[in-house]
Each structure stands twice: as structure tokens, then as C-alpha cells.
């Protein structure tokens, strides 16, 4: 693919900013790993050999206890099964993922449901970051919480930019009455308090909707109230570019407005957009965490960092590992994205060689 030489130079510059570049690589790695999260954090084995037959329970339908000659018809408890395999020692074995816990399973600690400290602090083995108030593995919950949050914010970014850029460019390109009217509409719209709308909406949405559907609705609501800020930047940028000769040339050549906006003007204004992207992601992660913290976000028992933070503040003295894990994870991700953002901004800054006197 032939890239614009200017873009190539910007990308090179981005790579040369080490902090941002490594943060980007690390975040990408995390995202890819989380895509296949079921293979790393799960209470089902990666592979299992029973009576000479092979099973791969990670994806697909549940294997009931009866499959392995157990006396129940619900899903097999593989950790128990592994113990049985080990005591029987007749050639059956299984390979569990590195973190053998599901984010939703409640595990008892000392016989009751209560937070267990991390394994390296004397807690039960396997729980690297300990467990939460009903004994769910914190690492597993953070891991899946991250997956939901990051894909949520990527989708959020894509949608807000799609709407924001389109509307902003149209305003800048057409100008006049259209610009005036849409600007007023945006001003009115952006004065609706977003948080209240979310709170009201989520107290009336029936839970007959599945969890993914509810997450989707939260996304739509957040996008509906967030696309406006992007229009201002795109409007001014388009105004500026519209006055340039190449636009006039395109008009003379007979290009239509859509073609001019998206093929001619947009590539020249995109650097503004790119520098905003990481910060949009940061604000989306923060928003969804805050909503969960307040109890208006994702429905239980969806794993989420905000929900863990909330638990953590209530158990500060008895289970400090909950709040510290959730806090550290959130800060870590936000810092990664912020580093990327800084690097992108620097790489795409046209004034690299400008010096101010």
C-alpha cells in the first residue's frame, strides 16, 4: 500500500518516540491477548485427554459432568476433575490456562465467601491478585473488565468520530445558514446533562435485554451525547481548507461535495483528529468506570474495573488488595494510552521545525 510520504514520515517519527511506541506495542499486545482471553483466563482446560479421547472445552458448548462419568448434568468443574485425574493416575490429564478461574465464579476462602489475599501474600494459590467480596478472582475480573472497556471505548471512538467528523465537515464546507442552524442545534443538544440521561435511562431499561445488548445501549447513549465536541474542530479545519486552491481546483474539475470533503479535505485535516483519538479513549474508559462505580453502568455480574473500585473503597481496611489492584490496573491502562497520545501528537505536529523567537 502506497502511503503518503508525509504520513510515512509521521509514522517514522512516532516510532522514534520510544515511550509512546512501546506503550502502543504493549497495548496492542494486551488487546490481542484479550481477544483470545478464554485461552489465558478461564476455568475450562485448553485441552483434556479422557479415556483416550481428546476434548477442547475452551470454546463451544458446555461439557456436562456426565461426559466424564460424574453424577451431574451441569457443566463440569474442571479443577475438581483435575484433582481426580491426579489421584486416579490412569493416564487422563488436562492442561489448564495460566489463570484457571472464570470471572464470575464465586470461590470460598476459609469456608466462606470473603475476599482472599493474593497468593503471594499468603492467600490461596492461583489467585495472583486475590479475590473480591464473593471470592471471584480479581485478575480474571480485571482482565475481562479491560477487554470490555477497551473495545467499548474503541467502538465509542469510531462512532463519535464518524458522526462528529461528518457533521463538522458538512458544516464547514457548506457554511451559511446550514452552519448556523446546526451549530445552534449542537449547542442545545450539548447542554443536556449526559449523566442524568444515562441514570434515568438505565433505571428504566428492562433487563430482558441481554448483557451485550445493554452494553450496546450504553454505548449508543454515550455516543449520542459525545459527538458534538468533535464538530467544532472539524468545522474550523474544513473552513480553512475550503479556501485553498486545491479545493477550488477540485470544484472546477467537477467533483461533488462528498468527494471533495472526504477525498480532498479530510486527508489534510486528519492530523487534528488523530491527536485527539487516544484522549477520547481515555475519557471513554474513565466514563464507563465512573458509571460502574456509581452503579449505573454494566449490569452485574459483568466484570468491570469500576465495580471493583467500588468494592475496594468499602473494604479499604480489610481487603486493600481489591482497591489497589483495580486502581493500579486502571492507572496503568490510562497511562499507556496517554503516552501513546503524547507521541501521536508530537509525531503529527506540523510545527516540528518551527522555532519561536
Amino acid at each position: 500500500m502506497a502511503l503518503n510520504p508525509l504520513t510515512v514520515r509521521k509514522l517514522k517519527r512516532f516510532r522514534s518516540i520510544k515511550r509512546g511506541y512501546y506503550s502502543f506495542a504493549l497495548l496492542m499486545l494486551l488487546i490481542v491477548v484479550s481477544l483470545f482471553g478464554e485461552m489465558f483466563v478461564n476455568n475450562r482446560p485448553l485441552m483434556l485427554s479422557y479415556e483416550g479421547k481428546w476434548y477442547f472445552p475452551t470454546y463451544g458448548a458446555n461439557l456436562t459432568g456426565e461426559t466424564f462419568a460424574l453424577d451431574y448434568t451441569y457443566e463440569t468443574n474442571y479443577r475438581d476433575l483435575r484433582e481426580r485425574f491426579q489421584t486416579e493416575d490412569n493416564g487422563n490429564w488436562m492442561l489448564m490456562p495460566p489463570v484457571p478461574f472464570d470471572p464470575n465464579e464465586n470461590n470460598t476462602y476459609e469456608g466462606v465467601f470473603k475476599p482472599a489475599p493474593p497468593s503471594w501474600m499468603g492467600g490461596p494459590s492461583g489467585h495472583w491478585l486475590g479475590t473480591d467480596t464473593t471470592g471471584r478472582d480479581i485478575f480474571a475480573r480485571l482482565f475481562y473488565g479491560f477487554r470490555i472497556a477497551i473495545f467499548f471505548s474503541l467502538a465509542f471512538m469510531a462512532l463519535t468520530y464518524l458522526i462528529g467528523i461528518t457533521v463538522g465537515c458538512l458544516m464547514g464546507y457548506y457554511g451559511g445558514i446550514f452552519d448556523l442552524v446546526v451549530q445552534r442545534l449542537i449547542e442545545v443538544w450539548s447542554n443536556i446533562p449526559f449523566l442524568y440521561i444515562v441514570i434515568i435511562l438505565f433505571s428504566v431499561i428492562p433487563s430482558t435485554f441481554s448483557i451485550p445488548a445493554r452494553i450496546g445501549m450504553l454505548l449508543v447513549v454515550m455516543v449520542l451525547f459525545s459527538w458534538t465536541s468533535m464538530t467544532y474542530y472539524m468545522r474550523t479545519a474544513t473552513y480553512r481548507e475550503k479556501a485553498r486552491d486545491y479545493t477550488a481546483a477540485a470544484v472546477v474539475l467537477g467533483a461533488g461535495p462528498i468527494r471533495i470533503i472526504f477525498n480532498h479535505i479530510l486527508p489534510n485535516t486528519i492530523s487534528t483528529v488523530v491527536t485527539f483519538m487516544p484522549f477520547t479513549i481515555v475519557s471513554a474508559i474513565t466514563a464507563i468506570t465512573a458509571l460502574d462505580f456509581l452503579g449505573f453502568g454494566l449490569p452485574p455480574p459483568t466484570p468491570s474495573m469500576g465495580e471493583l473500585l467500588k468494592q475496594g473503597t468499602q473494604t479499604l481496611t480489610t481487603a486493600p488488595w481489591i482497591v489497589s489492584s483495580a486502581f493500579a490496573a486502571l492507572v496503568f491502562i490510562l497511562i499507556l494510552v496517554t503516552f501513546i497520545g503524547e507521541a501521536v501528537r508530537e509525531a503529527f505536529d506540523p510545527k516540528k521545525f518551527t522555532t519561536y523567537q
Partner: protein, 658 residues
């Protein structure tokens, strides 16, 4: 109503035109009625069938007067007066009124329920029954008598009785009580209805003797007569349509010992109750050992976890530690404050009707309209695991919706216990036979066995997730919906839930109520046709407490008889029968009962030797505690020097029910 709408619209339109034509702003004065006494008198005159005035000679001579003076005293004779008790409230009260909008908040018990003195009170320790029901000890009244034939209770007020502002309490206040609570000014339809339908009349004989008449003779007639409080007629002399605003921040004179004055209100932050040192009943039996601290200071703390830390610092004097986490983890027996004896841990087993924590299934909704599915759900709920591993064995299992009523609780009926096999069997009868890829059962049409569970109890979220995880084993998918408390209750009242996790809070009453929760009149507008068959066009009735949409002609008959009966033995049999029918219907899945209260309290807060009263529902309810001010000083000193006291972990199980 419909006919009025166009007329109303026209009027509004006319008013608009008029106002807009006027041009200048009209100032509308809310005119208050300054002549309340006359208005009250006019009300009495207009209702001669309700308000009677007679002479002392009209009192029947053969009445058997009772005064309850032989009952044991309350509280501890060691109690001393004085000092300040600090406690917390979650929200600042939105009004000091005792009735009307916003008055039914969590602050109400502090100025009303736990503070006032009624004519006579039910003895909280002697809970046996005599021929008239519970035992009562005197408060405002010196003696009382029940006239069964005329469904009337005669009451003689203590001539010493005074309002907190020094005015004497007379039968005029008793009359005013009915005018007040039946008035539309108070904006409280529940009270309007209650005082219009539950009473048949009131008779005044002299300033201190009156009688209350009832439409029917119920076994709990004393709670409606002796258990009530008059209303100070002299205080509400500006009683009018603006009552809610006008009296918003005025503290009405009370029959009880604590009052609130303007200087004790720090809006949004704290409110202090001050003991009336000249309270007329301060030396009377039953009352002399209660209400000991001079001040009760209530500080607003928004968050439970924060309040706990304030307690631990000593900023508040006691704390409800019902959560296992608080009792075992945050303040374990070997914690510094406990081991050194600064804070005492008090666990008190009470014996009261239990709040009905459980799952209420709505029979008008798909899936749960099938009795096999309802029974299957009950078998799929692992309450025992919740009790054993979440409450750490402290809670008990609830068996019926009327646990804790003593003899009225069904003696043998037990709720269904978790059994995957039985659950699968019941679900199979309803057509759910094979498991889907996620272990959830499917029927022939491919529908999943998935039911929604609504609740407003955010603090019990963990209980529900445990139930949810366990139910999957039985092939049941529970979708948990946690709403804001008000939103959730509204949804349940609109009967839009599949299943709801809520509890009805029940007072320490003589016998359970069934009409509210189980009568078909509260389920449908017209549940059955004349011939007893199901009305095909019936509509679900909203805003009632029959949240199961339970309707059975057989049950209705028993409830009607039960509500008319004055024979306790017969009522007991009917209650058992109703519980058995409710069990078969399976629309209420009993959850757990919390058979105790447990608190942490700083060591200077002293309590009687036997802990509390049998029917106590809160540490502070009967105000039996007192402050040992010397010990408070010593403890504060000791916390600096590290000196220790005898640790106190006290369990009072004399009222424990097995």
C-alpha cells in the same frame, strides 16, 4: 371525571387569557386558616355519628378496668441520666413534621415511633396473651377497659400528662386527632383512609376520660386504641391547606421525653435531640429507667463504610454490625479496640415477626405463571449455601411468609431445600427437558429457562450472584436487575417484575396479615365471576402488595373469615391452612431470616443486664442505654496511654428461637 375535562380546559384557557390581558403579576397569598379550633368544632358538629359528648354517668358501671401496673418494670435500675450519645443518620431529615409529604423517612422513629408515649404500650418482654390480647403497661393513660359487646375501649388519661411545652393533655387532643388525620390538609391519603375506616367513633366524658368505638372487634383492638397518640390541638392553630410548608420545620409538642429546638438543627449536617428534664413521666414505673442521655446527637454520614470508620474512631457511640464483613473481618474479636475492652460487641437474639426476605414470583408473567416452574425455581435456589458461606452460618432459613409470629407460625411446614434433581424434575414437567450449550434448559420450542430477578437491595447483590451461579447447575438462568430502591419498588408495584427480591417489613403484631399479599382483590380488578370461575377479562391490579398476583377463591374465603374472626384458636388454624396453600402455590420462595441484632458499642454506653427487650428491632428502639461519663473519660485517657479494660463480647440468647 371525564366529563369535567373540557370544562377544566376552558377554565384554564380563560384564566390564561385573563392573566395575559392583565399584564402585571398577580401575587397569590396562601391564606392560612387561623381559626383552627372553630374549624375543628365545625367538623365535630358535622359528624355527629362519629364524635359524641356524654357525661361520666354514661360510662357503664360493670366495666373491668385494667392498668397493667403489675407488669415488670423496664430498663435497668442502675441507669443514670446525663451525657451525650452520638449516632449517625444517612440523610438529613427533609421535614420535622410527623405526617405529610417526606415525613415517612428514616428520621421519623427518632421523633415519633421511638420517642412518643402512647396511652399504653405493649409490654415488650411479656409477650404471652391474655383474653384481651397482648399485655399493656400505662403511658398517658392510667387505666382502660374493653367493652366487648359494644366494640369499645374506655381510656382514662393521667391528669398529670403534659405536652412537652407544658400544656395539659386532654380529651380535646383526642378529638383533634381525628380531625387532624382525616383532614385533606395533611396531604396523606393513607392516614385519611385509616382514621375514617378503622374507627367507628369517639366519645368524650370529661377532660380525661374518653372512649374509642370500632366497627369490628379484632383481637388486636388494643393496638388501634391504646397504641395511639393524641395530637396537640393548641399547636396546630394555623392548620390549613399550606400545612406541609407551614409546618415543615416546626417541631410539634410531643408526649415523649426528647424534643428538637431550632438551635439543635444544623441543616444538612446534624440534628440533636434534647431530653426534657421536667418530663412529667420521668419517675413513673416503666419509664423511669429509659430515655437516659441528655442529648442524642445525630450526624449525617452518607456512606455506611465511612460511618463505620467514624464509629471506630469514637465519633459515634454504636454501630449496627449486621454484615458478616463488619462483625468478623473489620472488627474481629482480636481487634485492638475489642481486646483492650474499648468497644463491646453485642449480639442479641430477638423474637419478632421476620421481614420476608425471599423471591416473589409474579404469576401474570410468562414461565413463572407455571406452578411446576415456580416450584422448580424454589428447588434451584441454594439459600443454604448463602446462609452457610455468605452469612457464615449466622442467618436462618425462612420457612413461611409468617415466620416469627410465635404460635401463629406454622409449626411443621418447611421450605424447599436446594436439590438439582427435584428442580430438573419440576422443570421437565413444564416441558424444559434438554440443556442448551450454556447448560440452561430448553423446551421443545427452543425457549430458554431464563427469568428476570428485580431488586432494589444493592447491599444484597452478592447473595443474588451466588444464587445465580448455583441456579445454572439446575439449568435455570436468573437475570439479575439491580435498580435504585424507588425505581425497583415502583416496578414491583406496577407488577412488571418476573421475580422480585424484596422484604415486607412487619411490625411486632399479634398475627400475620394475608389480605394485603394474598387476596384476589389485590391481584385483579375482578378476579372471578359470580359462579367462581376465572374472569377471562380480568386485569392485573397495580399499586397493591399482592406482588405474586395470587388469586384463589378458596384462599379468599379463608382470608375473609380470618379477618372477621375474633377467636384466636380458629384464626391460628386458618393461618396454618393458608400457609399450606401458599406452599403448594409456590409463588413465594422464602429466603433467610436474621434472628438477631448485633452491634458494636463503645464501653461507656451501658445496657441493661439482659441486653434488650424480647421484641427489639434496633439497639436504640427502647432507649434503654445510658452513658457512664466517668468511664468515657477513662476510656479516652486509656486510648492515649494504651491501658486496657476487660474485653466485652456479649451474646444474649435468652430469646433465641430454634
Amino acid at each position: 371525571m371525564k366529563n369535567f375535562r373540557p370544562a377544566l380546559g376552558l377554565l384554564c384557557g380563560a384564566a390564561l387569557i385573563f392573566l395575559s390581558g392583565c399584564g402585571k403579576k398577580e401575587t397569590v397569598e396562601t391564606v392560612s386558616n387561623t381559626n383552627t379550633a372553630d374549624e375543628a368544632q365545625a367538623f365535630y358538629d358535622a359528624h355527629p355519628e362519629f364524635f359524641h359528648t356524654k357525661t361520666m354517668a354514661d360510662i357503664p358501671a360493670d366495666l373491668k378496668w385494667d392498668n397493667g401496673n403489675d407488669l415488670p418494670d423496664l430498663g435497668s435500675p442502675d441507669a443514670t441520666k446525663g451525657g451525650t450519645v452520638n449516632y449517625w443518620i444517612q440523610d438529613f431529615p427533609r421535614t420535622l413534621r410527623i405526617v405529610g409529604p417526606d415525613s415517612n423517612g428514616s428520621f421519623r422513629p427518632w421523633i415519633l415511633d421511638d420517642n412518643v408515649m402512647s396511652y399504653a404500650s405493649r409490654h415488650p418482654n411479656v409477650t404471652s396473651l391474655n383474653e384481651d390480647g397482648f399485655h399493656y403497661y400505662p403511658g398517658l393513660a392510667t387505666e382502660w377497659a374493653l367493652d366487648r359487646a359494644n366494640k369499645t375501649v374506655y381510656i382514662r388519661l393521667n391528669p398529670e400528662a403534659r405536652w412537652s411545652d407544658g400544656e395539659p393533655i386532654t380529651t380535646n387532643d383526642v378529638f383533634f386527632n381525628f380531625f387532624f388525620y382525616r383532614s385533606s390538609y395533611i396531604k396523606a391519603p393513607w392516614y385519611n383512609n385509616f382514621y375514617s375506616t378503622k374507627y367507628a367513633g369517639v366519645t368524650r366524658f370529661d377532660d380525661h376520660t374518653f372512649a374509642l368505638h370500632f366497627p369490628e372487634l379484632r383481637p388486636d383492638i388494643y393496638s388501634l386504641s391504646l397504641g395511639t397518640v393524641p395530637v396537640p390541638a393548641h399547636f396546630y392553630n394555623e392548620f390549613g391547606d399550606d400545612f406541609p410548608e407551614r409546618y415543615q420545620w416546626r417541631f410539634a409538642p410531643t408526649t415523649g421525653p426528647y424534643t428538637v429546638s431550632e438551635k439543635d438543627i444544623d441543616k444538612g449536617r446534624s440534628i440533636t435531640l434534647r431530653r426534657n428534664k421536667d418530663w412529667w413521666a420521668k419517675d413513673n414505673k416503666f419509664w423511669r429507667n429509659l430515655y437516659n442521655p441528655d442529648r442524642i446527637r445525630l450526624v449525617v454520614i452518607r456512606d455506611n463504610a465511612k460511618a463505620f470508620e467514624a464509629f471506630r474512631k469514637g465519633d459515634i457511640d454504636f454501630f449496627d454490625m449486621r454484615l458478616a464483613e463488619d462483625w468478623y473481618d473489620k472488627l474481629p474479636d482480636d481487634a485492638d479496640e475489642i481486646a483492650k475492652g474499648y468497644i463491646q460487641k453485642i449480639k442479641f437474639y430477638n423474637d419478632i415477626p421476620r421481614p420476608t426476605y425471599g423471591l416473589w414470583m409474579n404469576q401474570s408473567r410468562p414461565l413463572v405463571n407455571n406452578r411446576d416452574i415456580r416450584a422448580g425455581i424454589q428447588y434451584a435456589l441454594n439459600w443454604d449455601l448463602v446462609i452457610k458461606k455468605f452469612s457464615r452460618g449466622d442467618w436462618g432459613r425462612m420457612n413461611t411468609s409468617s415466620d416469627g409470629y410465635g404460635d401463629f407460625t406454622h409449626p411443621t411446614l418447611k421450605s424447599r431445600t436446594f436439590s438439582i434433581d427435584k428442580a430438573l424434575d419440576r422443570f421437565a414437567r413444564a416441558g424444559f427437558t434438554k440443556r442448551g450449550p450454556d447448560s440452561i434448559l430448553l423446551n421443545d420450542k427452543g425457549e430458554r429457562l431464563s427469568v428476570q430477578l428485580t431488586t432494589g437491595y444493592e447491599h444484597y447483590k452478592d447473595v443474588l450472584t451466588i444464587l445465580q451461579e448455583e441456579a445454572i447447575k439446575a439449568g435455570l438462568d436468573i437475570r439479575i436487575e439491580i435498580l435504585d430502591r424507588t425505581a425497583s419498588w415502583k416496578k414491583v408495584q406496577e407488577k412488571k417484575h418476573d421475580m422480585a427480591f424484596v422484604a415486607f417489613n412487619v411490625g411486632p403484631e399479634l398475627f400475620p396479615r394475608y389480605w394485603e399479599t394474598n387476596h384476589s382483590a389485590n391481584a385483579y380488578d375482578k378476579a372471578f365471576l359470580e359462579d367462581g370461575s376465572v374472569n377471562p377479562e380480568r386485569k392485573v391490579k397495580t399499586q397493591t402488595n399482592n406482588i405474586q398476583i395470587f388469586a384463589s377463591p378458596e384462599f379468599d374465603k379463608i382470608i375473609d373469615a380470618y379477618d372477621r374472626s375474633d377467636d384466636l384458636e380458629e384464626m391460628k388454624k386458618m393461618a396454618y391452612k393458608m400457609e399450606e396453600l401458599a406452599y403448594d402455590d409456590a409463588s413465594f420462595a422464602p429466603g433467610f431470616v436474621i434472628p438477631f441484632m448485633r452491634h458494636g458499642a463503645w464501653n461507656w454506653l451501658k445496657i441493661p443486664e439482659d441486653g434488650n427487650v424480647k421484641i427489639a428491632t434496633s439497639f436504640e428502639g427502647y432507649r434503654m442505654f445510658w452513658v457512664d461519663q466517668d468511664l468515657k473519660k477513662a476510656t479516652k485517657e486509656a486510648r492515649k496511654t494504651g491501658e486496657s479494660f476487660e474485653p466485652a463480647i456479649r451474646v444474649f440468647d435468652q430469646y433465641k428461637v430454634d
